[in-house]
Amino acid sequence: MTLQLILLIGFCGAIITYFAGKILPVLREIFAVAISLLLVGMIVYAYGRYSQEIAQFGFLNFKIVFTLNRLSWLFAIIISSLSALSIIFSLSYMKGKERQDFFYMMMLFVSTSMLGIVFSGTFLQLFIFWEIMSWSTFLLISYSKGKAVKAGLKYITMSIIGSMAMLVAVISLYLKFGTLEISVISQNIDIASLRYLSCIFGLLFLGFGVKAAVVPLHTWLPDAHSEAPSPFSAILSGILIKMGIYGFILMMYMVVGIKIFMTLGVGWMKFHYVFAWLGVISILIPSFIAILQNDAKRLLAWSSVGQIGYIIVGISMGTGLGFLGGTFHIFSHAVFKGLLFLTIASVEYRTRTRDLDQLGGLIKKMPITFLGGLIGVMGLIGIPLTNGFISKWLIYKSLFESNRMFLLLFSLIGTWAAILYGYKILHNVFLGQLPEKYRNMKREPVFMQIPIIILSLTVILSGIFPGIILKLINNIAFSFGLESLNVNMWGVVSETGTLNIRNIFFGILAAIALVSIIFYSAKRSWKVSQDDNYAAGAFVPVEKYNYTVEFYAPLYKMIRKYLKDVIDIFYCWIAGLVDALCNGIRKIYTGDIGTYVGYILFFLAFLIIIYLRG
């Protein structure tokens, strides 16, 4: 009953929140936070109680089964806690905005439907919750109006296409296996031919891939993530795109099994191979595109595509280490990308802009936000002692061990790009010169500080003690029949020293100590105010002296011409084509009654001809 109860509480809570808001705004906020925290609590409570529940009533003739296993628990906890933090964050962020009842309702709706996805024991439920997630997300993406409207339409169009493909796959699974229960299908997977499974994978790739924003299907993401309300962007980037990954993991490891999966494909085009390459492309190009962005959220959005690439590369390796890395990256990306989006949101909340050319120097004004941003960027880049380091390290290691040098190389290049854009966002927002207009800015409200602090601590703590989560993931991997690795509190132990944070931790502490000793003992500089802008005695106007504009200008010149989003242009072209076609089609209704009568006669004649000929 617990799982159904969780979902029930989520959905009903969403609706209650809406109506509570009609009565009293405070009531709504209390409800929203309470329900999201309650969900977190229930999921924490459910830890270790892995079970399968068959629902009392079916859907059509299908059984409804809810399952909780380690994998879904991991996802559930990420979903529920990140959305709880986002909702807490929204308490301040959404203040004074219109239609808040709706916003909170949809936030709860989206997160509960994602919980529904991970608790699904049958593909049917998976699809149902998937669709609920799609449309509720759509309603939130367009929330801010303006450009968001177009972004929402783009999102939902791709999303529908994806889910239609998924629907076909689901139904064909049903016809093949006579059931949609995931556990039953995975037991009987042998009766399906490889060709059939490849087709299914192709279809599901469309379905899951759109949500996961793998490269040819990513075009909705930059628009949607940047235009959505910021707390929701955190959810979008942090967990929603992971739902696609969840689907992939489910299919690859749980349903089909990794052994069969590695043999899937057409000829030499093995599926996992294609998949890994798509992952690498997702790392490489979007990361460079991200450098070019001047909208902070758009930059982060492109970076999300890149980070998803790491996850995909990791899980498509089919080794224990790769799985460990990929899945850990799901967690770490959720945390640090959520953190970054919230950071930007709190900057945006105070400054009313997220244009990187106009911001700068906010370090003094919002120190906690800066700290959050710093830690987030460190995680993003993968600096040791953050969780991003752990996952990326593991992924590189697995690539290395699987002898995929090209993949490794391209992933590393992607990381350089990550460093560049990570620094760009950090610098352009927080460092440098403070624009004049923000001189009297207040600090961020407390409800924004709490989630940022919690997430920052998570990034650091899970970077120092990765074992807590690695152990769980290792168990998941073991249950999928992958090789079990020796995981302890500090990392993965093996003869070659796969990952040992203890050494790194102390090493880095020592290095920091060393650097600071040198830095302070060899101090030759003096402090200068940023506004000490004298150029040969002449006073330089403050506004113009803002070097955040055209950051990395030479680099832009070099790479810009290669980095058009060709795929997006292609899709838009197709959309235009369809549009024109539709406009043409409706011209058959000419408005002339004689023509219409002609149609009727034609139809009759057509039927008669059919008969006379056959």
Partner: protein
């Protein structure tokens, strides 16, 4: 004797008819009372149909009229399908009648209510009758009253649409009559069961031509492509209550008629394949035409056309599953489309414009109506947890179950059409919610306008979450609908 008289299904047709005839006299007593007559009639029908439903699920009832056994007199075949349709008709009719109390204010109000009731009676008659010529008569009742009602507003568009509808529709009826003539010439009888019994004895072009005539004739009402040119005009120009009835009921009745004739009388298997293709073509054309419309009611009308294609496709799959899915889709479409038209009716009434741009930001100005509109739209696209999802799912399931490549291709096309449908509907949702309104002031909605819409919305959600509610009824109905032999057997009493 007296106790069972009130359960006689013939009352489903006769009582509303009598009420409609009696309306002018009531109108003489008090003009206001006339508005409540359709409500009375439909309430009666709804109660009786719901009461009859469990009975006919076991055994369809045969009612012979004038006291002679079939085939000598007209008989009613009251099966689950008929009662299902009757419930739908009376439900939507009831809600629309309630909506109409405050909605219809100008024009010949009294006559509107009479015609409204007669239209619904005609629809009920079609689904219950077991006689081909009687079917034609009721079909004409349905058609002629809808011609008149489309023109009710008497504006330029309404009259034009009604004229076009009338010419195409009566051409269709002429074909049906010709088809009936052929059948009578071949078999010397008009009772459907009797014809069905003898149909194997004849194998001639006349039979096929008769069938082609029937398909064409009923197809005009059922909005098969390319016979559906009247539909967008008529549905968009009629008063919204009538659009709701036309879109929610009238066209489904056309489909019922086609498939009753095909399943029970003819049953050429090859024609089902052709019809399935035509259905998908209708779907695609409808959705594509709706894509670029700027007139909200025309969007809905074209979408109705598309949905008709989907239903035709489902019913031509030719398996019990397919029929069950098709019936389910009919219910979906009836509920959703009447909901949408009623919502839009109020929107158009308030904003005085049918342009999509006039709906900007209505989500703020009339929140409840917009919410219900959204529910209806989601249900039509087929998103869970609304009724459209299980129905679409069962259609796809039925189609793929046949395992034929043709159906696979058709289903892929159908999904493509769903994408197109989704896009334009989502665009409307965005216009409702995410565009700045021109004015801020909110509209107050009268309760009589709100009540029917809320009921429809609740039904959509309830069945969407728990489709098991309908599943058994639909499966049983589909079985009886499909089974020609048992039809004959039941009519002739074993």
């Amino acid at each position: 004797m007296v106790s069972t008289v009130w359960q006689n299904p013939v009352l489903l047709i006769v009582v509303p008819l009598g009420l409609a005839f009696f309306t002018p006299i009531i109108g003489l007593i008090r003009k206001e009372l006339v508005k409540y007559i359709p409500i009375l009639g439909m309430l009666f029908n709804l109660t009786l149909s719901l009461f009859l439903l469990p009975k006919v699920l076991d055994n369809p009832i045969i009612v012979s009229l004038s006291g002679w056994k079939p085939p000598f007199a007209i008989n009613l075949f009251v099966g689950p399908v008929g009662i299902l349709f009757s419930i739908l008709i009376s439900l939507v009719g009831l809600l629309t009648a309630i909506y109409g109390i405050n909605y219809i204010k100008k024009g010949a109000v009294e006559k509107y209510h009479m015609l409204f009731l007669l239209l619904l009676t005609g629809a009920t008659g079609i689904v219950l009758t077991g006689d081909i010529f009687n079917l034609f008569v009721f079909f004409e009742i349905l058609c002629i009253s809808s011609y008149a009602l489309v023109a009710y507003n008497q504006d330029k568009n309404g009259i034009e649409a009604a004229t076009k509808y009338l010419i195409q529709g009566s051409l269709g009826s002429a074909f049906i009559l010709l088809g009936i003539g052929f059948l009578y010439g071949l078999f010397g009888t008009l009772n459907m069961a009797d014809i069905a019994r003898n149909i194997t004895t004849v194998d001639s072009p006349a039979l096929f031509i008769a069938m082609a005539l029937f398909i064409t004739g009923f197809g005009v009402e059922a909005a098969i492509f390319p016979l559906n040119a009247w539909l967008p005009d008529a549905h968009s120009s009629a008063p919204s209550t009538i659009s709701a009835i036309l879109s929610g009921i009238a066209i489904h009745i056309g489909i019922y008629a086609i498939f009753r004739v095909l399943y029970t009388l003819f049953g050429f298997n090859s024609i089902f394949t052709v019809l399935a293709v035509i259905g998908i073509v209708t779907l695609l054309i409808g959705e594509m035409s709706a894509f670029r419309q700027e007139n909200i009611k025309r969007v809905l009308a074209y979408s109705s056309m598309g949905q008709m294609g989907l239903i035709i496709f489902a019913l031509s799959i030719g398996t019990v599953d397919g029929i069950s899915g098709g019936l389910f889709q009919i219910i979906t479409h009836t509920l959703s489309k009447s909901l949408l038209f009623l919502c839009v009716g109020y929107m158009v009434y308030s904003t005085n414009s049918m342009e999509l741009s006039s709906l900007n930001g209505l989500g703020k100005r009339m929140p409840l109506i917009s919410l219900l509109f959204t529910i209806g739209v989601f249900s039509l696209i087929g998103l869970p947890p609304f009724i459209g999802f299980p129905s679409k799912l069962s259609i796809i399931l039925a189609g793929l179950k046949t395992g034929e490549t043709l159906f696979l291709i058709l289903i892929v096309l159908m999904l493509l059409a769903t994408v197109i449908e989704g896009v334009y509907f989502f665009r409307i949702i965005q216009i409702l919610y995410f565009k700045e309104p021109d004015k801020e002031e909110r509209f107050k909605t009268p309760f009589t306008l709100l009540f029917p819409v809320i009921i429809l919305g609740l039904l959509i959600v309830a069945i969407g979450i728990y489709p098991g509610l309908l599943q058994e009824i639909l499966d049983r109905s589909a079985e009886i609908f499909w089974d020609k032999l048992s039809y004959i057997k039941i009519v002739f009493g074993g």
